[in-house]
Symmetry: C2
Subunit: 710 residues, 2 copies
């Protein structure tokens, strides 16, 4: 074991201590007035109730799938490894799946728990000062960001060694693929269910509240307002937590599989352990970055966050250099890692360009709002589609460069892309902290509104909320590009595994010939799955939202005192309806993604002359392309719509005579329509597509014996 | 030469006579009142002015590209054929390009000319009876439908023999690929420019007329109304005419290239001439089908059209059987052709399901309109995305089946898909006639409105207009699936041609390995190009529409008499603005598609170790997948939005108490917003994507020496 490997346990322990320290710091703060505390408690209970029911559903599916995987792999994948019987491999894969699923669930819970606990405290802090509010929100966000990445690192490491990584390092990565599948399986449902919940509540509450009844956002008279606030926590926090947990886990495992070839050639285990060590250094770099965020009253919170991010980036480069020097001794691979880090910086600027109102795209959407909702949406769609150019170029150039460096290093081109992915993901804990910052400030804003805080306090949380919107968009750009970079490493891992099962060693199965009819049709179906999944996810939001609208209308009709402010609406019922609908609606799209590739592979397996494993490879590769392009449209388009609306609300849009077009105007109403469309795109379908891309990789990785041996 | 080949010249001559007969029949009819005649003349002049300017622009580009192609192919592709010098091949390809471009332009002109001439006559006929109106609209549509397909058949045949098809049948198909490129080059610009024109005028006129000023659609007080009517002719008729001309031409040429291998093995030229003969029989079958359309006053016009279509389908099967029996003597290939014909029937039902208000999808959009434009658009997007399932399944299953039959036939799997494509395209003249039926009735409706016809007459043309909407949607479904079927044949043709240039014979270059980094990145960029192209096309509509809105507002401000009905608006100025903007905006997206694959190929060509021709193959194949899925969303989603609006206007939507929600209601306004978004999707970007898919195939086919020899 190389000495530098100690960075993994050490950074893991430090990170956990750091997170505990932050959590205590946040939790000991005041929750504000009793009214605010009460609202905070209601949100926590409702979020917890949703998560409990969601996890129960997911747990049932997980156990069923673990058993199926165990049996199938046990029956079909048994001949692959010497010294391990078929049964051994089967139960190990099933158990790995369950452990991955469990950890992913815990990650989601952590994300939700800390965020909910930080909401009211951030709201209370905002009554004191902006700096205080930023501190609470960022620390709260950092708790989940760091705990989740630490959990991923520790989880992969422990299961790797538990499955004989020390003695059989060339076998163990194949045994732990189940861990990645379990993690992404849970992440998909968490992200989907949470995403449906949060946006249905948001859209429903807004339409019936703001549009029909003319009451402000987050007004306590709206029966759906608690559901809306809960949504931010279960969707953005729990969902994103599970998402990034599985990203880091799956990509670690994929990179370890790619390292096996170099290990086999050199006998140096460093090639397999390298991804874990890079991740360790990344956590430390991110941690130090957090210390550099000291918001000043007269400074934009975004500048403070950016400062910390660039510190984390700079330290990541140093950490990468150290790891490469001690473990691989190959500077070409350092170059590949730097490519990944550079990609993460570039995409941040690109995302800001497309989603901040200072730049042309958002301004053009706001301008188009002057002629109504139709032109607003036409322009927003055009902007969203256009963002694929930047996304594709960043991913494409990074892949070509890092592959070339991997080639030059003498190892393998694909290993270069793996190192680039690892480099990019070094700052993951920091980015995740920024991301959770968003929903915390959003909720603080809502709590202050409900508790009737004055306009001065609202101004502080409004400012934070706008920053939160940007950080959320940045994270999505980051997650998307990292998914794109990881794609190549993940399907090289798939091909290696197919080769391993077919021929007993890596590298012999490496052609995916899309000119074969079944491979081409597989690719066609993969892009279709992306559209169908998005369709179902969007429709789920629409259906759930209309249930909420009906319920709110019913309550308003049944008790006119609610709107008058004399009686209290039945929040719990709205929460309950959203919970049930959200959970019901997540099943179909979730199963589509899990079963889609399996069905294609198994059906093609039974047609003579077809190479089913190759067709599934095309599903994976072209599905990834389709998914990332669609996600780019949805995430950036949604963010641009949102900020075009915010731009008008800020009084930044002027008519031909230079008069400000304000809130409530025709143009503003048009912009609200655009934002409402953008919501399910950017917060339900878009983020779920990241997970879809990863899930395609992990499900095919685990299930590939089905397409070969069956 | 097989005797059956006589079907080509004979059917060509008969078709031209048939079209002349129909044209005379239409032209001798009354144009109605002097007022109607006047409006008809204005429309014709404006459409002609647009086409003249558009064709001037396209001509300049075409000549430039013809020269570039000639020089490049002359320099690079020269070693490929014995007996022909490099220079010979170069100028032949360039000339073929010009001839193809010219024919495509003529096809567009025919489409526009006949449609415009039929508009006023259809309007006048509607004042007599529904049957008469249907007859005029269908005959007008049939003139262009049949002339265009005859032109395609004759054009390909003539250039094939002019380039030595009789003596060197294995070489000639390679020499005429320029014809296909020229045709699709012009088609792309015709479809794009016309599509931008028509939808910008439509959106602009509607927003400022219906929404802002509260005047009805096609009201003569609206200065943009003539531009709107012109748009239907230059977009839907001229654009679609050029589109289907290049489809039939490119797919014929591709199928002939695939036939070379079988010719080389058997020495029987029938394998190369087969696609032309099938097309000849298809024209005859479609012609007979037209005779079976006899609308009855008490019958839906759609039923009459469907009857004729099924006759054409049945006769096509017979024609196919005859051709296969005499030319190939292989019943497996007959089966493949039937698969194609069946696909065209299935997609018609699927399209009807997704775009007619009797079925769930459109109803769900109309229902969602009750809660406003945002939910209308969310639901419409979901429906549009969902349609990719049916499109992908129809294409996928047809490809797998026809490939299998091709394999079983002993020729080649890809030849099976070629026969399927030929089978599907047999009814092309009929479908194109139905398609042109749409804009003719649409315009007749507008002319009657402008000329102040009574409500009884409006009712007749309104009914026809709704049928026209459906036929337009059907054609798009048909064009999309045929593009998908053709895709496989076209890129097999590309691979054959690469093989030919690289190794001097077909079939040696047949792997497109998407696991190679440059191939994967090519595929990624291809899907990006689809999004970017759509973005620019949509944005062009938005930008042009806002110019029109400004102009209309200016006219209303400058002369209040316009809205009062006392003074005449300046139609010409609105037309002029639309023309200029439409032409300017078509350049960038057009060049993107032409230059995109070339740039990718040439850049990759200069990177050592990359297989540029393979990367371009991936651009072609995955770009096709991305384009077809996107087009499915846009065409069907747009159709569904349109008909959801029409459903509400028809009084088919009811509230909870069973009361009809009528025109002008909140729900109807929401549905109008959805329709306005759907317009540029279904009439600008969507149809242009069909051409994009074909153009990707023809441009790579012609330019492939660049990626190999350069």
């Amino acid at each position: 074991m190389p000495v530098i490997f100690w960075v993994v346990p050490v950074s893991g322990v430090i990170t956990v201590i750091f997170a505990i320290f932050l959590a205590r710091n946040v939790l000991k703060r005041s929750m504000g007035t009793p009214k605010m505390k009460e609202i905070g408690d209601i949100i926590f209970q409702a979020a917890w109730a949703f998560l409990k029911r969601q996890y129960t559903t997911i747990a049932i599916y997980s156990v069923a799938i673990a058993i199926i995987i165990g049996v199938l792999v046990g029956l079909l994948g048994g001949t692959e490894v010497e010294g391990l019987s078929a049964l051994d491999i089967g139960w190990r894969t099933g158990v790995a799946f369950l452990v991955g699923a469990l950890c992913s669930g815990v990650a989601g819970f952590i994300g939700m728990y800390i965020a909910v606990k930080s909401n009211a405290r951030c709201a209370a802090a905002a009554q004191k000062s902006l700096t205080e509010a930023v501190n609470v929100a960022l620390r709260g966000g950092a708790v989940s960001g760091f705990l989740i990445t630490a959990l991923s690192l520790i989880g992969v490491t422990v299961i790797f060694f538990a499955y004989g990584g020390a003695t059989n390092p060339e076998i163990a990565p194949h045994l732990i693929v189940g861990f990645g599948f379990g993690a992404s399986f849970v992440a998909l449902f968490a992200q989907l269910g949470g995403g449906i919940y949060t946006k249905a509540a948001d859209v429903g509450a807004d339409l019936v509240g703001k549009v029909e009844s003319g009451i402000p956002e987050d007004d306590p008279r709206n029966p759906a307002v608690i559901a809306d606030l809960v949504g931010d926590n279960v969707g953005d926090c729990a969902g994103r937590g599970a998402d990034l947990f599985e990203s880091t886990a799956a990509e670690n495992i994929g990179a370890m599989i790619l390292g096996i070839a170099a290990y086999a050639a050199t006998g140096n285990i460093a090639w397999i352990l390298f991804p874990l060590c890079v991740r360790g250094f990344g956590m430390i770099a991110s941690m130090i970055g957090i210390f550099f965020v000291r918001a000043k009253e007269n400074e934009s919170a975004m500048s403070a966050l950016n400062r910390g991010y660039f510190v984390a980036i700079a330290l990541s480069v140093v950490g990468l250099a150290v790891t490469v020097y001690f473990m691989l001794g190959n500077w070409w691979l350092f170059g590949a890692g730097v490519v990944g880090i550079a990609a993460s910086v570039v995409i941040i600027f690109v995302t800001q360009y497309y989603t901040e109102w200072r730049y042309r795209p958002v301004r053009s959407i706001a301008e188009a709002s002057k002629t109504g909702p139709a032109t607003n949406i036409i322009m927003g769609t055009a902007v969203g589609f256009e963002t694929t150019l930047a996304t594709a170029l960043v991913i494409g150039v990074s892949l070509l460069l890092s592959f070339w460096m991997g080639d030059m290093s003498g190892v393998h081109g694909a290993f270069g892309t793996a190192v680039a992915t690892m480099g990019m993901l070094m700052t993951c804990p920091y980015v995740l902290s920024m991301d959770t910052f968003g929903p915390i400030t959003d909720n603080a804003n809502g709590i202050n509104e409900m508790a009737g805080a004055g306009p001065e306090v609202r101004k502080v949380t409004d400012r934070l909320d706008a920053v939160g919107n940007t950080t959320k968009a940045l994270t999505k750009g980051y997650a998307m590009v990292s998914a794109g970079l990881a794609a190549f490493l993940l399907f090289q891992a798939y091909l290696d595994r197919v080769s391993f099962i077919k021929f007993g060693e890596s590298g012999l199965y490496n052609i995916v010939d899309i000119a074969r009819i079944e491979v081409f049709v597989g690719a066609l179906l993969a892009v279709m799955i992306v559209y169908l999944f998005s369709s179902w996810a969007i429709k789920a939001v629409g259906k759930t939202a209309s249930k909420i609208i009906e319920e709110v209308r019913r309550q308003f009709r049944a008790d006119p005192g609610i709107l008058a402010g004399t009686s209290k609406p039945d929040y719990a019922r709205a929460v309950d309806i959203t919970t049930r609908a959200g959970l019901r609606e997540m099943i179909a799209p979730g199963l589509l993604v899990v079963l889609g590739p399996i069905i294609i592979g198994v059906v093609f397996r039974f047609i003579p002359g077809y190479d089913a494993a190759m067709a599934v490879a095309a599903v994976l590769m072209v599905g990834t392309i389709g998914g990332i392009m669609m996600a780019s449209y949805m995430n950036n388009g949604g963010g641009a719509w949102d900020n075009a609306k915010k731009m008008i609300e800020d009084g930044q849009l002027k008519d031909d005579e230079g008069k400000v077009i304000s809130k409530g105007s025709f143009a503003h109403q048009a912009a609200v329509v655009g934002d409402t469309l953008g919501d399910p795109l950017k917060d339900t379908a878009g983020p779920s597509l990241h997970v879809l891309v990863k899930l395609l990789a992990t499900v095919t990785l685990v299930m590939c014996p089905l397409f070969i041996v069956l």
